[in-house]
């Protein structure tokens, strides 16, 4: 809305200037008229369904091509960063993103967050086609969950899509569950986040869950409380504009 108001103000200003000059032809007016701006807005409600896995600040992007990850292919460095440390900066800055929005902070278990994301454009063919979402389960080595290239191009204003998400392993860090490798609170606050080394299978797969010290991994910093099952998020996407 703000950008629309600015546009209207700008058009008004141009009109005043032209009339002040006097003698301007009306055809020139038309040429100088900017294309009408179109805005598509989506409200995304995300609920953390886990028992004790806070989610790192959500990365939400609108895009027209590509996807954030592919099972069987190497994770991008941007995704590796998100999955190992919870830092969403590079995913939000991904070249495929038309528009991106970060969550306000950690999304704690049982909590919901509403994020509005929009994209303004002039060419009607540039309407956003896909929505993607990614967040780290912070009490893990490199688990993440989210939505990969959800088709939103047929969503009319007021319509919603609801879905739940499964969890993936970026394949970039071995699931040692050692305290020094868990960036979330289970790692005591000093666990390492991103590390450029890739010492796991180096392909994105579905996550096999955490083992924890209570289920037979004696070196694990995790407890039974950090175990999770699919699904891990509930998401509702509503087009609002």
């Amino acid at each position: 809305m703000i950008s629309m108001n600015k546009k209207i103000a700008l058009i008004g200003l141009v009109g005043l200037m032209l009339s002040a000059c006097g003698g301007s032809s009306s055809s020139m007016m038309e040429e100088d008229m900017p294309d009408p701006m179109i805005t598509y807005s989506y409200q995304v409600t995300v609920t953390n369904l886990t028992y004790a896995q806070p989610m790192s600040p959500l990365a939400l992007i609108l895009h027209n091509e590509g996807q954030l990850w592919t099972v069987g292919e190497m994770a991008s460095v941007a995704l590796e960063n998100l999955a190992e440390s919870g830092d969403n900066t590079d995913v939000l800055a991904d070249a495929i993103a038309l528009s991106g929005k970060s969550g306000s902070g950690l999304l704690l278990p049982g909590m919901s967050e509403v994020i509005d994301v929009s994209y303004t454009f002039t060419d009607v063919n540039n309407a956003p086609m896909m929505l993607s979402l990614a967040t780290m389960l912070v009490n893990t080595n490199d688990a993440f969950t989210g939505i990969n290239a959800l088709g939103i191009n047929n969503l009319a204003i007021g319509e919603s899509i609801s879905l739940t998400t499964s969890s993936y392993d970026s394949g970039t860090e071995k699931n040692s569950e050692l305290m020094a490798t868990i960036p979330g609170p289970a790692g005591g606050g000093s666990g390492e986040g991103f590390n450029a080394e890739r010492d796991d299978i180096d392909k994105v797969a579905m996550h096999s869950g955490v083992v924890s010290v209570d289920d037979g991994l004696m070196v694990s910093a995790l407890t039974q409380a950090h175990r999770f099952d699919n699904p891990t998020l509930a998401v509702m996407v509503t087009r609002t504009e």
């Binding site: 099972v71 319509e159 609801s162 569950e177 797969a205 037979g216 991994l217």
Partner: protein, 247 residues
């Protein structure tokens, strides 16, 4: 409107011109309905797990009376051969009128990998089933039982859960035993194969095909109860994705 997609049967609509098929039906009036409506299918199976291998996969388009397995029922001897040892020959031999693909991956389908094949719904084979043993498990398998193949052209995708045939105790000991009734796991391809396990359990009290409870594993490669690694050989459902393109 709220489209619930949690079970993820995604559909991409395509425009399909059926006029040609209809006109050939008129020309050849003896042609049966099922032949007229036959669809050519591209079928892709993706292993979604991080550490589990699939043994040779059996994929079949068959009629509504055929079943490779059914959860809640006792496994057939043919299913047991597949689930305990990865041998699909007996199950495949049951499929006399089906269009089937045996072992499209030409061996093991490694974690995160995909394989594809083509089938036809000719002769009323309107149902899709897929099975393959999961390694390393005692008698775990991926299973799709009689998914109804859509007649509308498009790409359809759904996920698959892991089942337990209920025919062998999940002792998690890698013994090489793959023959029906032989205890133990035939092999553990890939990483972190253990030895010296004492056995997680010696009984299989649920003899019906059921959703697999997963591997347990342990953190000692040379001792403990399991020969499996609890950070490598576990999984959460779903374990596979099937993508069917109806042409």
């Amino acid at each position: 409107m709220n489209m619930l997609l949690s079970q993820a049967v995604k559909k991409t609509k395509k425009i399909k011109n059926k006029a040609l098929l209809l006109s050939s039906a008129l020309l050849f009036s003896t042609t049966t309905i099922s032949q007229v409506q036959a669809q050519e299918l591209d079928i892709k199976v993706t292993n979604l797990t991080q550490g589990i291998y699939f043994t040779p996969i059996l994929i079949a388009a068959h009629d509504g009376d055929t079943k490779l397995f059914k959860s809640g029922e006792v496994a057939s001897a043919e299913l047991q051969m597949m689930a305990e040892g990865g041998d699909i020959s007996a199950l495949s031999a049951m499929l006399t009128n089906a269009d089937k693909a045996e072992n499209p991956a030409m061996g093991l389908l490694a974690p995160t990998m995909s394989t594809s094949t083509m089938l036809s719904t000719m002769d009323g084979n309107m149902y899709l089933s897929v099975v393959a043993m999961m390694l390393p498990t005692n008698d775990g398998f991926i299973g799709v039982n009689s998914w109804m193949i859509p007649s509308e052209a498009g790409t359809y995708s759904f996920t698959v859960n892991a089942y337990d045939a209920g025919t062998e105790a999940n002792d998690e000991m890698i013994t090489g035993g793959g023959a029906p009734g032989a205890v133990g796991i035939p092999a553990a391809p890939g990483m972190d194969v253990g030895t010296g396990g004492t056995g997680v359990t010696m009984t299989e009290d649920n003899a019906y095909v059921h959703v697999h409870r997963g591997n347990l594993g342990d953190d000692d490669l040379t001792a403990g109860r399991s020969d499996l690694d609890n950070t490598v050989h576990r999984w959460l459902n779903p374990v596979a994705r099937i993508t069917v393109t109806v042409n």
